[in-house]
């Protein structure tokens, strides 16, 4: 059982980003699928940057600003293929200093 409280925002704060304001590179295709059809909502705990949040009303919200561009959310959404996933526009997104 995981009892450890980890503030991932603090970790992400160390990273460098060039956010493409208003143009998220990943979007949820159909919000209703997340709320009504997807039982596990695995993106809300698998995403290593906690971009996906499960809201009280079973809505899943996505904010891509902290995205590490790993691709996990797209790969795990196998049953529903509900993630439209592109790389950010050239030069945008996470800019690793060390990688």
């Amino acid at each position: 059982m995981s009892t450890l409280a980890v503030n991932v925002e603090e970790k992400l704060f160390q990273n460098r980003y060039k956010v493409d304001a208003g143009r998220p590179h990943i979007t949820i295709k159909d919000a209703a699928v997340c709320s009504n059809t997807c039982r596990s909502q695995a993106c809300t705990y698998v995403c290593p940057a906690a971009c996906y949040k499960s809201e009280g009303n079973r809505m899943v919200t996505l904010i891509t600003d902290g995205c590490l561009e790993c691709g996990s959310c797209r790969v795990i959404c196998t049953e529903h293929s509900n993630v439209a996933w592109e790389y950010p526009r050239g030069g945008h997104g996470v800019l690793f200093k060390f990688g």
Binding site: V6, K11, V46, P48, G90, F96, K97
Partner: protein, 434 residues
């Protein structure tokens, strides 16, 4: 008439840089496109560099490549929450140049490699994402970018665009990655003085240690952790199969797993006081031999992670990336010299070269490993505890006689796996490795 190149390379990681370097050095007109601000800014690895693969491309790389420490000691720790049982292999033979492997920091290493690519004559464009391949029927003619002129053409396009392999997927060359074929790894880099690292890890200047970790650190998921020594920083991370993260009933988040590892009583003193300066995540294609897609066709080839070229059993990836990049480039050079069109028929020479190289030979050798590990979580959730338990029973002096202790240890193995389980596990491992 838009500009025509001999070859376009998408991506500037180890495979893309090797391909572009090799072709440019042979006098071909090469365009390399990278989506990051500079080569390396999108790339994530542990990271260990195996000298051999790079030596074949840039023999004098040690003169100016940014290398952190050469590795003289390899540790493997099998852990439970309180303890570890470990094997260490350290040899002075690893301390004599030319060194066999190094720890590196990828953002710096890839940037260095890229200067070599440009010196060789390739044209590099950064901050440009390739959105799709330009197709003419089944033949790749070029790429469409999200910036500048938009479209560029070449006789052949080498896809070195990383594990997500977006371009090949969009073109329908292969399907989506199954979650059981990729590992999700997260890691942090922790800075501390060189002297502190040297004292804590029992090493001298420029000498390095790598520690691979398995056991309860992955909460029963198939995966491993790692701790590597850089010059004045440590890299610590943990990775598990993505399908296991998804199916984990505890819904453990990757960064929680990493935090738990950092707080392990055997790890915490090694990293104490380290200043965390970056947190990364990355997928590693670990499907092995059976997961390798078609890697060539009319006007295209796939190299590196994009083609799934990782030997998970030996934690090798960047050397396979460089080797596949080199073999693809040599295929283009030979075809060009012979005046052949870059058809699937011509480019099949790339696959033949791969089959002849250590790349496919090693992947073939471990072809059953992914399946064995998937069907045998006991290697990750049962045996580590049995091993640490056995060690504790054996080494604790408490008045119990040794014969009884021996019986307790055997009893614990038998109770957990029964004789049949122990035998079949031994057989499975043997088969996967042989």
């Amino acid at each position: 008439m838009p500009e025509q190149f001999d070859a376009i390379v998408v991506g500037a990681g180890p495979s893309g840089n090797t391909a572009a370097y090799t072709m440019a050095k042979a006098g071909l007109k090469v365009l390399q496109i990278e989506r990051g601000e500079y080569p390396g800014s999108k790339n994530v690895q542990g990271a260990i560099l195996y000298a051999d693969a790079l030596e074949k491309i840039i023999p004098e790389f040690r003169d100016d490549a940014p290398l952190e420490r050469h590795v003289i000691e390899q540790r493997v720790w099998v852990m439970d929450d309180q303890s570890f049982v470990g094997t260490h292999f350290r040899s002075e033979d690893y301390n004599k140049p030319p060194y066999n492997r190094y720890t590196i920091i990828r953002a710096q290493f890839d940037k260095w490699f890229s200067t070599k690519v440009r010196e060789a004559g390739a044209l590099l464009i950064c901050e440009t994402t390739v959105s799709e391949l330009i197709m003419d029927g089944d033949t790749v003619r070029g790429v469409r970018c999200d910036r500048g002129g938009g479209e560029v053409y070449a006789d052949v396009v080498i896809l070195a665009d990383g594990v997500n392999s977006t371009l090949a997927r969009k073109a329908g060359f292969h399907g989506e990655l199954p979650a059981q074929n990729v590992a999700l790894a997260v890691k942090e880099i922790l800075f501390m003085p060189e002297e502190t690292i040297q004292a804590r890890f029992n090493i001298g200047e420029e000498e390095g240690v790598v520690i691979e970790l398995m056991g309860t650190v992955t909460e029963g998921m198939v995966g491993t952790g790692f701790l590597y020594t850089n010059k004045d920083s440590l890299t610590i991370g943990v990775g598990c199969m993505l399908s296991d993260f998804k199916a984990n009933p505890n819904r453990t988040k990757p960064y929680e797993l990493l935090e738990k590892l950092k707080r392990h009583p055997s790890i915490a003193p090694l990293i104490a006081g380290g200043e965390m300066k970056e947190y990364c995540a990355h997928l590693i294609p670990e499907g092995g031999f059976h997961a390798i897609p078609k890697v060539f066709g009319d006007g295209w080839m796939i190299v590196g992670d994009s083609g799934g070229f990782v030997n998970a059993a030996h934690r090798e990836g960047s050397n396979l990336a460089m080797t596949t990049g080199r073999l693809a480039a040599e295929t283009v050079i030979a075809a060009k010299a012979a005046g052949k069109a870059m058809s699937a028929r011509t480019l099949k020479a790339y696959k033949d070269a791969l089959d002849e190289s250590f790349v496919m030979k090693d992947l073939h050798k471990y072809r059953d490993m992914p399946q064995v590990l998937h069907s045998s979580p006991q290697f990750f959730n049962t045996y580590p505890g049995l091993l640490t338990g056995a060690a504790k029973t054996l080494f604790t002096v408490d008045g119990v006689d040794k014969k009884t202790k021996e019986r307790q240890i055997f009893g614990s193995f038998k109770a957990a796996r029964r004789w049949s389980g122990l035998f079949s596990d031994a057989f499975k491992l043997l088969r996967a490795f042989r």
